[in-house]
């Protein structure tokens, strides 16, 4: 079995502030790992560092056995970033954004292939946005735009998915759909790393949970079954990257660890 992501003592320092303080994390092929923790604990930073998008200030990280700078098989990775909306100052259709997920599989100067078109159509269908394919993304709601980002990653047909809060601001019906999509991928042996605040319908899929607090890994193992404050209805996380004081304890997780 090969290893998709392998971080050893990963450190990230931004403007002199330690954001990740020596995290070890190995994700094997076919694993479904949830990254949990309070706002500002470094979840996004961790997954960005795993991908090499965020440079490390210490430690190492490997993508399928290679450091990000020497990694060449980028088509094996599908990344869904944490975004409030799909950016850009010029209109772009849902189909255009989803099709851009094929970029790692396309050769420079080559025309779009029929395989590209089929993968895009399948991805749109998977997230239930086929009928909106020709609409500008900016005309979609926040939750629908989140689904566009997921479809973009699906379109690339990668081996490993890295999803940063794919369920933020998404209604329960769509969360259920995402859970079904992911479980189909997992059955086909795909690897998934996902950041979440509330696992909701995704919970049965998770094979392992990693909990971060203030840039340190405080739990790595069985997914806690407890229902913490973060899973309570009405506790919505649709405001990423707000500077909030990090909570020192998560009542739910603490409880779960005691039980475990």
């Amino acid at each position: 079995m090969s290893t998709a992501f392998d971080m050893t003592a990963g450190q990230v320092t931004i403007d002199g502030r330690k954001i990740l303080r020596g995290v070890d994390l190995t994700v094997d092929d076919g694993e479904v790992v949830a990254v949990l923790g309070p706002n500002g604990s470094g979840k996004s930073t961790l997954v960005r560092a795993l991908l090499g998008v965020q440079p490390l200030s210490g430690g190492t990280t490997l993508l399928y056995g290679r450091p990000p700078a020497r990694f060449r098989e980028w088509w094996r990775i599908g990344y869904v970033p944490q975004r409030l909306s799909v950016g850009g100052g010029v209109p772009a259709t849902v189909r255009e954004v989803v099709a851009s997920g094929r970029i790692a599989r396309q050769r420079r100067g080559r025309l779009t292939s029929s395989a590209d078109r089929q993968a895009v159509a399948a991805a749109l269908n998977e997230v239930g946005l086929s009928d909106r394919a020709g609409d500008p993304v900016s005309s979609l709601s926040g939750g629908q735009q989140q689904r566009v980002l997921i479809a973009r990653a699906l379109a690339g047909e990668p081996d490993a998915f890295v999803l940063d809060e794919p369920t933020a601001g998404v209604d329960s019906g769509s969360q259920q759909m995402l859970a079904e999509t992911l479980s189909a991928l997992v059955e086909r042996g795909k690897t998934v790393v996902l950041v979440a605040h509330e696992l909701g319908p995704l919970e049965p899929l998770i094979s392992r949970a990693v909990v971060l607090n203030q840039g340190c890994k405080v739990h790595d193992g069985a997914p806690p079954t407890a229902v913490g404050t973060h899973a309570l209805p009405g506790h919505d996380h649709v405001h990423p990257h707000e500077p909030e004081p990090a909570e020192t304890t998560l009542p739910g997780w603490a409880l779960a660890q005691e039980k475990a």
């Binding site: 960005r48 990344y79 799909v86 851009s100």
Partner: protein, 276 residues
């Protein structure tokens, strides 16, 4: 007599078509990247390049390309480091470029700021056959680069982080778009002048956005609007005997106002249909 009977007008018209095609094509990516004012920043820096041309006795267009490209690379590097925001970096270059240009021209014997006028406000009717070849070559190069790298540039301008996680050469692409933009600025300088150059990169894009839904059609339509503005502006300035650069930009802005109205109307009737 028509404008086609005059050599200088024929050259000017060909130059106008080139500029009308390239500036909005590059502009679409720049606006997508939310750097609409990049062209202005580069234009101001290019002024220092023009003045350096006068000082050293070299062709101002050549020095302008070099200095503008260096400026654009500097903007991109400051932006990519992320310490200063992109717009602040641009602002710093605005001031430095303009002040540098004025100072250098003052120090050049026999020249005054009046020498800069045709570069500041454009002098498309002064384009000769040699200029035309240079302009055409640069325009073709710019369009060819956009065609080859367009797909990657779209991802970069849409979401830089995703571009990086797709293995794209993000730093190279960022520098590429910056250099393409600076070449375009210098090409368009002849038509509308450095102070108005950015208008041709931004206004046609803003105009077509009012009417389109996709990136591809926005780009194509903005090139149509760009050519309409440059050719229409040049022609009417000839018959009305008014400055060409200003006419081109005012025409482009008028087009924007019309498109804004049409876009509003179309959207309203569309929503009217769906609720009916």
């Amino acid at each position: 007599m028509t404008i086609f009977d005059l050599d200088f007008m024929r050259y000017a018209l060909v130059a106008a078509v080139m500029v009308g095609l390239t500036a909005p094509a590059v502009g679409t990516f720049i606006v997508q990247r939310r750097l609409a004012l990049l062209g202005d920043g580069i234009g101001h820096v290019a002024l220092t390049g023009v003045a350096l041309g006068f000082l050293t006795g070299t062709a101002p267009v050549a020095t302008a390309v070099v200095v503008a490209a260096l400026g654009a690379v500097a903007i991109e590097m400051v932006r990519a480091r992320g310490k200063t925001s992109g717009d602040v970096a641009l602002a710093l270059l605005f001031y430095g470029g303009l002040a540098g240009g004025v100072m250098i021209i003052y120090l050049t014997p026999g020249e005054s700021t009046a020498s800069l006028n045709s570069y500041l406000f454009g002098a498309i009717t002064s384009v000769d056959a040699t200029d035309l070849w240079v302009i055409a070559g640069l325009a073709v190069a710019v369009l060819a680069l956009l065609a080859v790298f367009g797909r990657e540039l779209f991802v970069l301008c849409q979401d830089e982080e995703v571009a990086r996680a797709s293995g794209l050469p993000v730093r190279f692409l960022g520098l590429l778009i910056a250099v393409i933009a600076s070449v375009t600025v210098v090409v368009a300088m002849r038509a509308v002048g450095l102070l108005l150059v950015s208008a041709l990169m931004v206004v046609p894009v803003a105009t077509s956005q009012q009417l389109t839904r996709s990136f591809r059609t926005t780009m194509a339509l903005s090139m149509v609007f760009g050519v309409l503005a440059t050719v229409g502006g040049l022609t009417s300035s000839f018959y009305l005997d008014v400055p060409s650069g200003a006419t081109i930009v005012l025409l482009a802005l008028a087009g924007f106002a019309v498109a804004l109205g049409i876009g509003r109307f179309v959207r309203r009737s569309r929503t009217g249909e769906s609720t009916a």
